[in-house]
């Protein structure tokens, strides 16, 4: 035994005598993880979170979360002598006077953008492959929670420097709070410690941003990962893969190296982006004052869809018995997001209700084999793209020489007609792909080689599929539509018939698919 092995043995003994960890560690070090690039999207989010914690802690050592007025006499000359808040001044100090300060600021902000975009990409992957189905419904809900809280955390984070752009965003947030019926003005005054902008808001959101939300994130992410660990990761279907096994590589050494290495890759790419691309240059924006505004003011991208919704909404406001209800703020600012996030969170339960599928699933779906779900997903992406593009409508107008009013109208109408069109097109494409798969299984690959048969006919030689390819194209399950009886044997309509009728209808739609080839089909082909 080498000296190193002796030392390691001593340490292991010490720990095991106090915790009994040997068995538990052995079991987990040999745990198997399936390997696919699309499984790394969630990891990007996880590693970005760690990067945010590290760089964020660094920033707190210099950032002053105070709105008291100071006069700037620092390194950035164009702001010399200008009155600003201590928060803004300390951010300037970090950017100009602290070595590595600007780099840490930029890594922190780029990591935040990575965090949100990778959560989005990860959500789409989980959605399109059906990984949210039983037993992973709770993990999906935790994920939606992480998404929602991430949006808030990011908004609060970039509002901390109290610059003109983010201050405008806070003004808009205050208007949303203020618009709430009955309690709005009280909540706004409580949140801001008085009239807007006050001096209490930045210190308070600092606590939320640095302590409360990260604490909640740590708890939720831990739960999220523990569930994945315990329930084992899903896997793509393929030869040898069943609902009862998981095929991949063991934690030690392969997954440790790959996942651990990927952490360094994410950190490295984020640092690279922070070295070469400027982000949130607050010294150019100037300090916040309610009397100033810049053309082309937008929130960060993950809130851009909210901005787009607000921009396109008609100016509806009601005055009832001496009181005002601002539908133009409440609907796009609170009600629609509320419906969207609640709907997203409940989706696994909605889908299992429609399909009647209560079984466990560990094999992922190929998106083409679940046309309605895939079409729903593309429809949601279309909705997001329409709202996002409307959030940037003024930049689109200037860069493409268009009229901002026309862009707004295009999006006002497009938000209603483009998603359904996307749904229909996607569903048709999925069914076509199913048909193509079926043809491939039945007839094999086209080789482009022509052969002339003895009786004169030209035929193209088709190469049959390998068993692995065949399995990949036919392993999916195709369930018939649910048929809930709405009228019983005596011809009496069931009292709860409406719910069942809806379910039937949806189930029929969901079960629309191209029949995959079975034994009979193959027999037929043989006779050609």
């Amino acid at each position: 035994m080498s000296a190193g092995e002796k030392a390691a043995g001593a340490v292991a003994n010490y720990v095991d005598e106090r915790t009994g960890a040997a068995k538990w560690l052995k079991k987990n070090l040999t745990k198997v993880f399936p390997d696919h690039w699309s499984f790394m999207l969630g990891e990007i989010a996880l590693y970005s979170f760690i990067i945010l914690l590290l760089t964020g802690t660094f920033l707190t050592f210099w950032f002053d979360p105070s709105q008291r007025d100071v006069i700037y006499h620092g390194a950035y000359q164009p702001l010399s002598g200008i009155k600003m808040s201590a928060a803004y001044e300390s951010t300037l100090h970090i950017s100009f006077d602290v070595r590595g300060g600007l780099l840490m600021r930029q890594i922190h902000h780029w990591a935040a953008l990575f965090f949100m975009s990778s959560i989005g990409a990860h959500l789409l992957r989980v959605f399109f492959t059906g990984a949210f189905r039983k037993p992973r419904e709770f993990n999906w809900i935790i994920g939606i929670g992480l998404l929602t809280l991430g949006i808030v955390e990011g908004f609060l984070g970039y509002s901390l420097p109290d610059d003109l752009l983010s201050g405008t965003g806070i003004r808009i947030a205050e208007a949303i709070i203020q618009a709430m019926p009955i309690v709005g003005s009280y909540l706004a005054f409580f949140a801001f410690g008085g009239p807007f902008p006050g001096t209490a808001f930045i210190p308070r959101i600092f606590t939320v941003h640095v302590l409360i939300l990260p604490g909640i994130f740590l708890a939720l992410i831990t739960a999220h990962l523990m569930l994945v660990w315990y329930q084992k990761h899903t896997q793509y279907p393929g030869p040898g893969r069943t609902e009862k096994n998981v095929i991949g590589y063991p934690l030690m050494p392969v997954y440790m190296a790959k996942a651990g290495g990927f952490f360094f890759v994410v950190f490295g790419v984020t640092a690279f982006l922070s070295a070469v691309a400027s982000i949130n240059p607050i010294w150019l924006y100037g300090p916040y004052t309610p009397g100033q505004i810049s053309a082309g003011s937008q929130p960060d991208w993950y809130m851009g869809w909210l901005d787009g919704l607000v921009r396109m909404f008609p100016n509806l406001e009601s005055h009832i018995w001496g009181h005002t209800i601002s539908w133009n703020i409440l609907i796009p600012g609170l009600i629609i997001p509320g419906i969207l996030f609640t709907g997203m969170a409940l989706y696994p339960f909605i889908e299992s209700w429609v399909t009647g599928d209560k079984r466990e699933h560990h094999l992922l779906d190929r998106p083409r084999n679940v046309p309605n779900r895939t079409a729903l997903g593309v429809m949601s992406i279309t909705f997001l793209l329409v709202t996002l593009s409307n959030g940037g409508n003024d930049l689109i107008a200037t860069h493409f020489a268009l009229s901002i009013n026309q862009i707004t109208w295009f999006n006002r109408i497009g938000i209603f007609i483009l998603p359904p069109i996307a749904f229909i097109i996607t569903k048709r494409i999925c069914l076509s792909l199913q048909r193509a798969d079926r043809e491939l299984v039945l007839h094999g690959h086209e080789t482009g080689q022509l052969v002339r048969l003895p009786h004169g006919e030209f035929v193209e030689v088709h190469e049959p599929l390998t068993p692995e390819e065949t399995w990949k194209l036919t392993q999916h399950e195709q369930r018939a539509a649910l048929e809930f009886k709405t009228i019983d044997e005596n011809g009496v309509s069931r009292p709860k018939g409406l719910k069942e009728k809806i379910r039937n209808r949806l189930s029929r739609a969901v079960s629309e698919q191209v029949k995959k080839p079975d034994g009979d089909d193959l027999k037929e082909i043989e006779h050609h």
Partner: protein
């Protein structure tokens, strides 16, 4: 099993294909060298980072194509950090790909559902112990427990009361009152009507009482935009016309939608545009909303001149300025 069914069934895990590094020791050595190069590049990255931190001054700029004139300290510090991290990752990944075993391992999934015996056991245990606590029988305990727990939930809520004052009339009042002079933002000079040409705008705030400081809370309600048109351009009611002075009209600058500063005046169309959500207000018609999500026109400030000829407010705003709220009656 018929031939057709067999064709459609799971062929099982494919044969493991060995990598070059598995069979050829020279290839494995080459892979090892490649990984070593990655790790050495990472070390060089760290050296670049340390060098940049210590040696490159904060105010040195360097021209790089695409990046433009960029800060050399920040760029090389960042690149050093990026390479130091990235290459560790790439090295570790390549190590896993080429040299660590890549035979796929099959592990069994276990049913999550507990056995019937375990479940029955659990239910029985919980029932028995809940019964032994006596909660079901002792309704007095149950009810008073509910009372105490429910009440204690109110305490933290009450602690939040001093987060802020009650709004009272704050949202409805501004610093503008009869006789308050209009002054230019940020220089605080008073304004004569002749200072403005037709087509001119001015960013305006109320003159401060001597000895008072202007706070941002004041600005958030008091900011006003002054615009000069030709008197014949107005399409106002007689009352609103009386609030103008020789073609000069004043509006609250705080957007009635969500509170951004509406200062974007299009001289030719005489529209005011709010850059946040594109609410558009028509100045000749008292800032009537003609596009966008704002529901109400910008409140108009009645102006006239004082004895010295400087522009003053002739009355406070006739309605609350800024975004709507529940208590707002119009």
């Amino acid at each position: 099993m018929s031939k057709e069914i067999e064709r459609l069934s799971d062929p099982g895990l494919p044969e493991h294909v060995h990598r070059r590094t598995d069979t050829d020791p020279a290839a494995a050595k080459q892979a090892e060298r490649q990984i070593a190069i990655f790790f050495v590049l990472s070390a060089l990255g760290t050296i670049l980072f340390i060098f940049s931190y210590i040696k490159i001054p904060l105010d040195r700029f360097i021209f790089i194509p695409i990046l433009g004139s960029t800060n050399a300290h920040q760029l090389f510090l960042g690149l050093g950090l990026a390479f130091s991290l990235l290459f560790i990752g790439l090295g570790a990944i390549q190590w896993a790909r080429t040299l660590m075993p890549d035979t796929e391992v099959v592990a069994e999934r276990h049913e999550f559902r507990s056995s019937e015996a375990d479940r029955a056991d659990f239910v029985a245990t919980v029932k028995e112990r809940a019964a032994s606590a006596g909660l079901g029988r002792r309704s007095l305990i149950k009810r008073t427990l509910g009372l105490s727990l429910g009440l204690i939930g109110l305490s933290p809520l009450l602690l939040l009361r001093d987060l802020g004052p009650l709004p009272k009339t704050e949202l409805e009042t501004t610093s503008w009152a009869k006789g308050v002079r209009l002054v230019i933002d940020p220089s605080n000079r008073p304004i004569l009507p002749s200072d403005l040409e037709v087509g001119a705008v001015a960013q305006v705030l109320p003159e401060l009482a001597p000895g008072t400081e202007r706070t941002l809370e004041n600005v958030a309600k008091d900011a006003v935009l002054l615009i000069r048109l030709r008197p014949e351009d107005f399409k106002l009611s007689p009352e609103r016309l009386s609030w103008t002075y020789q073609g000069i009209i004043a509006f609250s600058k705080i957007c009635t939608h969500m509170g951004c500063a509406v200062a974007l005046y299009e001289q030719q169309t005489k529209h005011l545009l709010c850059p946040c959500h594109q609410s558009t207000f028509d100045v000749p018609r008292a800032a009537k909303v003609i596009f966008g999500p704002a529901a109400r026109p910008l409140p108009q400030l009645a102006i006239t001149v004082d004895a010295q000829g400087y522009l003053i407010a002739s009355a406070p705003f006739s309605e609350p300025v800024g975004p709507s709220f529940w208590e707002r009656s119009s």
